[in-house]
Amino acid sequence: MRHVTRLLAAGLMFVGLSLPAAAAAPQRVQVTGEVIDTWCYITDIMFAEGTTHHQCALWCAVGGIPVGVLGDDGEVYMVLKVGDDTTNVANPAILEIQTHRVSVDGELYERDGIKYLLIDQVVNDEGIVTVNHDDFGIQPFGE
C-alpha cells in the first residue's frame, strides 16, 4: 500500500510538472472587428488598416506573424485558433479572411497584457469594408 501511495505521489508530481503553469480560465466573448496584421498595427511602423495595407497583411500572415482582430473596442486580439484548427502560423483559412470585418464567437485568455482569442466560429463575415487605398496608397512600398 505504501508502495502504491509513493507511485501515485510520484505520478502526480510528474503530471504537475508537465502541465503548463498559470493556465487561467477563459472568458466567453463575441468580438467584431477587422482581421489585421498585429506587427504593423501595434508598432505603427505604417498605416495598417484596410485595403491600403491588405497586401502587406498577407505577406506578414504568410510570413508567420500573428494575425489579430482589431475589435471595435480598440483592442487587439491575437488569434490562436479558428474552429477546430489550431494552426496559428500562416493558417490558410485565416489568410482568406485577412482584412475582412468579422464577428466571431470564442474564448478569450489574457496573459501578461496580451489578449489571446480562440475563435470557435466566425458568425459573420462582411468582407473588406475599410476601403482607404485612395487616401493612403499601397503600404508600404506604393506598389
Binding site: A21, A22, D44, I45, T51, W59, I65, V76, Y116, H133
Partner: protein, 183 residues
C-alpha cells in the same frame, strides 16, 4: 615600431577568432528597449489551454518566451522582412534559450522582436533569420538568391491570393482601376 606592429597583428588575430558579438540593434520602434533575457520556448496555445501537440506543433503554432519570473512574452517578429519568430524558435521547443532583441510597447501592448537567439547557457548565437533559408529550401532556390531575399514577392501562396483578390483584397478590377488612375 616593430613591437607595436606585432601587438597590432596579435590584437587583430585575437579579434578574428572571437565569436561575433551579438547585441540587439535598435529599429526606432515605439518605447523600444534593447534586451537580453533567458526564457523557455513554449507553444502559446499549449501554455494557455493545455492543448499541447508534440514538438510545439512542428511549426504550426505561435511560440512564446516564458521568462524566469513566469512572464509570457510574445515575439511578433524576427530579423527578416515580413516574418515572424516561430521559424527561429521552433528548434528550441521546450528548451531554455537566451533571447536578444527588442521590446516595443505601443497602444498598451508590449511585444518582442527576436534578433539573436541561442540555447542557454552557452549555445552558439544564431541571427534570427532562418526563415529565408527555410523558404529557399522549400521553394527550390538558393538562400542568397534575390527570390529568397524578396520572398514576399515570390511566395506561391501570396501570389495565389493576390491573383485572386488583388493587392487591396477587392478583386483584380479594383487593382486595375487604381493603377490606371495612378500611372
Amino acid at each position: 615600431m616593430k613591437h607595436a606592429l606585432k601587438l597590432g597583428a596579435l590584437a587583430l588575430a585575437f579579434l578574428a577568432f572571437q565569436p561575433v558579438a551579438q547585441a540587439a540593434q535598435g529599429w526606432g520602434l515605439p518605447e523600444e528597449e534593447e534586451v537580453r533575457f533567458d526564457a523557455t520556448v513554449v507553444d502559446v496555445l499549449c501554455e494557455l489551454t493545455g492543448d499541447c501537440p508534440d514538438n510545439c506543433g512542428n511549426g504550426t503554432r505561435q511560440l512564446g518566451l516564458l521568462d524566469e519570473e513566469g512572464v509570457l512574452h510574445l515575439p511578433l517578429k524576427n530579423f527578416t522582412p515580413f516574418t515572424g519568430a516561430s521559424w527561429e524558435l521552433q528548434q528550441f521547443c521546450g528548451k531554455k534559450v537566451t533571447a536578444d532583441g527588442l521590446f516595443t510597447t505601443n497602444k498598451g501592448y508590449k511585444v518582442f522582436v527576436v534578433q539573436f537567439v541561442r540555447e542557454a547557457p552557452d549555445g552558439k548565437w544564431q541571427r534570427a533569420n532562418r526563415f529565408t533559408s527555410q523558404w529557399a529550401e522549400k521553394n527550390g532556390v538558393a538562400a542568397d538568391s534575390k527570390q529568397a531575399k524578396q520572398w514576399f514577392r515570390n511566395d506561391p501562396e501570396v501570389q495565389r491570393l493576390l491573383d485572386k483578390d488583388g493587392v487591396f483584397g477587392l478583386g483584380p478590377e479594383a487593382d486595375k482601376a487604381y493603377f490606371e488612375a495612378n500611372q
